[in-house]
């Protein structure tokens, strides 16, 4: 019974993925979770880029869009470089001192994803949309992601 409840709680935390999870997870777990999410995001884009048809590309992009909608909540205050309980992270404190800029970096990704989704099926437009997508990842990383610890 106890095991079952534990499993249920863990399952809930995982599926809620965002606010609920923040309450239940340690700062380092939140970092690890969002880094895994970022890597999966890269995987979705690669999937979309190499998909054989528009439907396949759209399916991958839908996952990326869903993740991006949870992005803000994956960066609760106190989970960046130098914060208590965070041993390994590349998240700069600027995320919390420049919240407006961080928010617009998320919006830039969100609209680039939607543009790619709309362009699926038209190869030339799709290629151009991917160029812009790569720039939106880079735009946020340049501003808000620091060096990897040695």
């Amino acid at each position: 019974m106890k095991v079952w409840i534990c499993a249920l709680v863990a399952g809930l935390a995982l599926s809620a993925g965002s606010v609920l999870a923040s309450a239940a997870l340690t700062p380092q777990q939140i970092v690890d979770d969002r880094v895994a999410g970022m890597k999966a995001l890269g995987g979705n884009l690669k999937g979309a880029r190499t998909a054989t048809d528009a439907a396949g590309a759209k399916a991958e992009l839908a996952k990326a869009i869903a993740f991006t909608e949870t992005m803000q909540s994956r960066f609760p205050k106190g989970t960046g470089i130098g914060d208590a309980g965070v041993a390994k992270s590349r998240a700069l404190q600027d995320i919390w001192t420049k919240p407006d800029q961080f928010k617009s970096a998320i919006e830039a990704l969100s609209s680039a994803l939607k543009a790619a989704d709309a362009a699926a099926g038209d190869q030339a437009k799709f290629d151009a949309a991917f160029g812009a997508l790569g720039k939106s990842c880079k735009g946020c990383h340049d501003q808000f992601r620091g060096p990897e610890a040695p």
Partner: protein, 295 residues
């Protein structure tokens, strides 16, 4: 006792000889043949490209302090102290306006300044020593087309004994060679001589010199605290599995095959250098890096 005295005298004498040798300007192995001159037609246009491929602008421009391109003044932090890059515009007083072709080649390929002083290897002449003389002169021709800027040298902040330039002479004897580049394929020339990729991607020994036996094997303490990944062998991002097209794309746009993006010093290398290369040259670099990962 006598033996000890002899030993001490011997040591002092050797020391004095070394000192004397360190203080004499060395004759560098730089020879300029009659065939190339920075005044040859077409040299400046060619130089505009070579200067990109060699990444000179990244260091000789205080971009963050809104300085002028090639006028120097950029602070470069190293374990030995902070260096400030000199002015490479053709201003006679504070730049290289009064330099001859030979002066320039000696500085770039042998690390010796116009007054015979030893230059510090933050200036990556240990890579540029493999550059062809005509490529070096093409850069000079290009630099001489720039508007002269008055920008006096800022004083380096380095600690003793490294503040003693003459010491570099012994260091160079140990660590600089003039490799043969004639038979290097284009990609290898771009990576090893012009692009000086190893200055960041190759680990350094105790003396701050590149570990020649570990070419491009990564460096945990790169510039500004960045960890520099290895470009050979097993790496976190499985670089060995990147295709030639993927490597070339990264050098053009900074986007990795997993859609992660280049950052820090590498973003600067892409912005200042590799993005401006022809796609053939980016492909040549990719082919060379790929060849290092094929066994």
């Amino acid at each position: 006792m006598r033996l000890l005295r002899l030993a001490i005298i011997g040591a002092l004498a050797t020391g004095a000889l070394v000192l004397a040798w360190l203080s004499v300007p060395s004759s560098s192995p730089v020879v300029i043949t009659e065939e190339s001159s920075s005044r040859d037609p077409g040299m400046a246009e060619r130089g505009a490209y070579v200067v990109r491929a060699a990444g000179c602008i990244s260091c000789h421009w205080d971009r963050k302090g809104s300085g002028i391109a090639f006028a120097g003044g950029r602070a470069l932090a190293t374990p030995f102290g902070v260096f400030y890059s000199p002015n490479l515009t053709p201003d006679v007083e504070t730049g290289i306006g009064g330099w001859s072709d030979e002066d320039f080649v000696r500085a770039v390929t042998w690390g010796e300044g116009i007054h015979g002083e030893q230059l510090y290897p933050v200036f990556p002449y240990t890579s540029y020593s493999a550059m062809g003389v005509s490529d070096v002169l093409a850069i000079k021709a290009y630099l001489f087309t720039l508007k002269p800027v008055k920008a006096p040298q800022l004083e380096n902040k380095i600690s003793f004994p490294f503040s003693w330039r003459a010491l570099m002479k012994g260091w160079k004897l140990l660590f600089v060679d003039s490799p043969q580049n004639e038979d290097w394929p284009r990609g290898e020339y771009l990576v090893r001589a012009l692009g000086h990729c190893g200055q960041c991607h190759t680990p350094r020994n105790f003396f701050g010199a590149l570990d020649g036996g570990a070419h491009l094997q990564g460096n945990r303490s790169g510039p500004d605290g960045w960890r520099v990944p290895a470009l050979v062998g097993a790496t976190k991002s499985n670089f060995a599995d990147w295709s030639v097209e993927e490597i070339a794309e990264y050098l053009k746009s900074g986007v990795k095959p997993d859609f992660d993006s280049a950052q820090g010093p590498m973003a600067e290398v892409i912005e200042d250098n590799t993005k401006h290369l022809t796609s053939e040259d980016r492909r040549a670099i990719a082919l060379y890096l790929k060849s290092l990962n094929q066994h």
